[in-house]
Each structure stands twice: as structure tokens, then as C-alpha cells.
Symmetry: C2
Subunit: 258 residues, 2 copies
């Protein structure tokens, strides 16, 4: 908090400025998947989400706090000059706190009995929403296949409303799930059993597979069966996030997870 001698900008001299290397790394962590992968760090923006990460026992390694605001974590704050986090944040209305958390080591599939699998889901808002559904329904894990949007992107974390911290997200492909002994049920708009008729409780290990939001799952996807949502109204009436919510809650009820 000491100003540099001869600094030309008395307002910003005490906190980290936009060109500070740590701020520049933060900026890359917000926007770049490879930077997140290499560092093993995830960016969490705003007091509410930071508190969720702490509550889920994620480890905070650095908290950036705009001067004048209050820190949220117990970590020694990195004070940042006014106006800097606005230029770094992923949101349109940035918050005065941004924290870096260590990504926990990926869990294995061994202890997972009920999983929601997203196959090449592309939109971060959708991925965040379905993570939220799976967590609310008490699923053991969310699985994302290669080709999916990064589940550690700040947009996914935000769309999940913090659920991302409370449910493990595992990267695996459909073949790996089959090898692990999961019964794979693909969701479809046009084939398979009605979701109210499926025997959700029968498979000891159940993986419900939702496809890409634009194309759905291909008809030759390596699944053991198909399920579609029984509905009134028009054929294409539900989107991937709504369908996931309905299927997760129906399966959770029948499997005694609620």
C-alpha cells in the first residue's frame, strides 16, 4: 500500500494496475482454457460465488480486491486499483472481488453410481444450468466428454450458481463409461422409452447422456438404450437444459436420491 516515488497517477499508485503481470495472468485465466489447464486454477468472480467455493472447501490461492471493498476469503488480499477488475472480468457488471481457486484433483468414476453425461455440450450457460440440475437432484457426478465447452470457464461457474463447486465434474468419454460398467441411457427427442416408463432404479450404475444442444446425440452413439420426455404440445418443445432438469429429477425420485 505504499506509492512509488515519482508515480504519475496518485489514484492508482497503491494497488495493482492493469499492466501488472499478476493482473495480466488473471486476464488470461478468465479467457483462456489452456492457461487454466496449465495452472490448475479457476477464476471465481463476486462475493456470492467466492463464498460458495469456500463453503465447498475449495482452496483459495489469491484474492484480488478493489481498493475500498472488503475481502471475502482469509487469504491476504491483493489490492487492485479502481477500474482494473472491470477490464479483466468476464461479466458485464463486474464485482470488486475476484479470487483464484485451485481446481481439485479430478475424481475417478469408481464411487459414482448416478451420473449426468454431457456429450459435446457447447454453450457455457447450458453446461452451467445442467450442472445445477444434477447437483440439485443429488447426482454423484457430472461427466463431460471431450469436445465439450470448458467446465472451468467463468461463465460455466456463474451459470451453475456455484453448483460447480458442489458436484464433481469428470472428463471421460462414453466408451470409458461403458468399460466402467455404467448403463448408458441416451436422451432423444424422437426415440426410446418414455421417461415416465423407464425403470430408473434398475441399473446399479446409471449414466444419463445428453447430447449437443444443436444436434442432439447421434443415433449411433454407443448407448445401451434411449429415453425421451413424455410431453404434450409440439415435438421439439424442450431444450437440452429443460430436458436435463426433468430427466434428472425423475431419475433422482425413482432412485431415492431426493
Amino acid at each position: 500500500m505504499t506509492g512509488g516515488i515519482g508515480s504519475s497517477d496518485p489514484v492508482s499508485e497503491s494497488g495493482l494496475g492493469f499492466r501488472n503481470p499478476r493482473i495480466q495472468r488473471l486476464r488470461r485465466l478468465v479467457s483462456r482454457r489452456d492457461e487454466r489447464r496449465e495452472s490448475g486454477l479457476v477464476v471465481v468472480e463476486g462475493e456470492t460465488l467466492i463464498r460458495e467455493a469456500v463453503a465447498a472447501a475449495w482452496v483459495c490461492v489469491e484474492e484480488f480486491v478493489t481498493e475500498g471493498a472488503s475481502p471475502v476469503t482469509d487469504v491476504e488480499p491483493s489490492w487492485v486499483s479502481a477500474g482494473v477488475l472491470e477490464r479483466v472480468a468476464s461479466t458485464e457488471s463486474p464485482r470488486p472481488n475476484i479470487a483464484l481457486f485451485k481446481v481439485p484433483e479430478q475424481r475417478g468414476l469408481t464411487e459414482v453410481a448416478t451420473a449426468l453425461v454431457l456429450d459435446r455440450m457447447a454453450d457455457p450457460g447450458n453446461l452451467g444450468t445442467v450442472i445445477r440440475s444434477a447437483e440439485a437432484a443429488g447426482f454423484d457426478a457430472v461427466v463431460v466428454t471431450s469436445g465439450s465447452v470448458d467446465h472451468l470457464s467463468p461463465k460455466v461457474v456463474r451459470a451453475s450458481a456455484g453448483a460447480r463447486f458442489h458436484v464433481p465434474v469428470i472428463e471421460a468419454d462414453l466408451d470409458e463409461l461403458r468399460t466402467e460398467g455404467f448403463h448408458l441411457l441416451g436422451t432423444s427427442s424422437h426415440q426410446g422409452d418414455d421417461h415416465l416408463n423407464v425403470d430408473w432404479s434398475a441399473p446399479a450404475r446409471l449414466a444419463i447422456v445428453v447430447g449437443n444442444e444443436a444436434q442432439g446425440l447421434p443415433d449411433d452413439a454407443p448407448v445401451d438404450g434411449w429415453v425421451s420426455i413424455r410431453h404434450a404440445g409440439r415435438a421439439e418443445s424442450l431444450n437440452a437444459a429443460m430436458a436435463s432438469t426433468i430427466v434428472c429429477f425423475t431419475a433422482a425420485e425413482r432412485r431415492g436420491l431426493l
Copy 2:
């Protein structure tokens, strides 16, 4: 299709230009609720949604088509110069077709047995999504209370994926529903019966009430009972759209609407 003598822009002389009064009215219809109310017209953007409106027997009164594109409706097209609809549309990636449809006369509540009621819902994306859920679940109507976002805004129509054309949306307040003999069940994050234990089929006339997405329904809302979603995970784990989807589909199943 005749160019004005002395027109300085040979490319745009044949179609309607940005300053044409009909284009300016279209622009106001996109952005202004009062203009939509006074005219009784709704703006439908893009081929897919226009086809949905036609399929639902809504009446098209004018279709604007960018020169070089094909009309979608049977109405004599109003040709528009290139680049004009981009400046008028509500979307970031505008389509070459925009049509005006007559809003059907508001239906009464008389024939409605199962309704989803949105009380002061503020976000057009949320309102569109819950209209979509209600339609997919086979509800007879969606009711919006005064203070809700305009259900005829282009954003609502788009977020509903065309469901807006297939389910009646009725403007009414909670007291009117009570007077009409509806059993009002308010959704809550913290009180009332578990959604799996509610006797959904008992009320002859059922109105499920969902509150504003930020504040929820006030505890003193004039409802006959409360319902909350049974869930695992954290307390505030579902948003208004997800909760509406789950409640609509559970009620629809139990009321034999699916």
C-alpha cells in the same frame, strides 16, 4: 419497387429504406410495449418463428423481406433494402424475414383448468422459458400478473421457441383467479408441501403461482397453499425457470395431461 428520381443510393432504391415510416413503426414495435398494445401487433423475427406463428393460425398482416431472400408467409412481401432489418431487429444476428402478426383476442379464464401463473416475472428470457415449459406440459394457459415483463416482446417470443403462439397467455391478477374458483398453489424455496407429496389432481381448477425471479412470491401472497421442490444439494439450488419446469411436469403427470 420503383426508385426515386435523383436517389443517391442505387443499391437501396428499390426496397424500403431505414427512414421509411413503416420501417420506423416496425422499429418502435420491436422496442416499445405501448406501441404493441395500441396496434395489437407482435413482431416475429426469422423463418422458424414465423412458421410457428402461421402453424398456430396467427394472422400475418405484413412480412418484411430483405431483397434476395424468400418470403415465408402468403402475404404480399414488403421488400426491404439490404442492411435495414439488421438495424431494426432485436437479435444480434438478425434474419432476413420479419413479420407482423395480429395478437389474438385475449381468452377468458372460463375454459382453463390448469394454469401456470407468473407473478411479476421480470426477465423476458425467463418468461419465454416458462411459457415453453407450460406448453410442453400441456397446461391450458399461462397467466401473467400486472408488473410482469411484456409477454409480447420479441425476446419473450424468441425465448419461448414459438411456444408463445401455442398456449394462451392471459393477463390477470391473483385475486381474479381466486374469484374464478382456482386453487392457488404458490411455489416457495422454504415453505409448503414437498412437490412429490402434493395432491396435484385434487383441485378441479389449479393455478400454480411462480414469483419474481429475484424476490420470489411474498409470504403474504393471496394463495391457498404452498409447494416447494424436494431436492438434494443446497437450499437455493434451483432458479425460477427450472423450478417451473419441474413443477409443471410433475403436475401434468399427476393430472393426466401428458
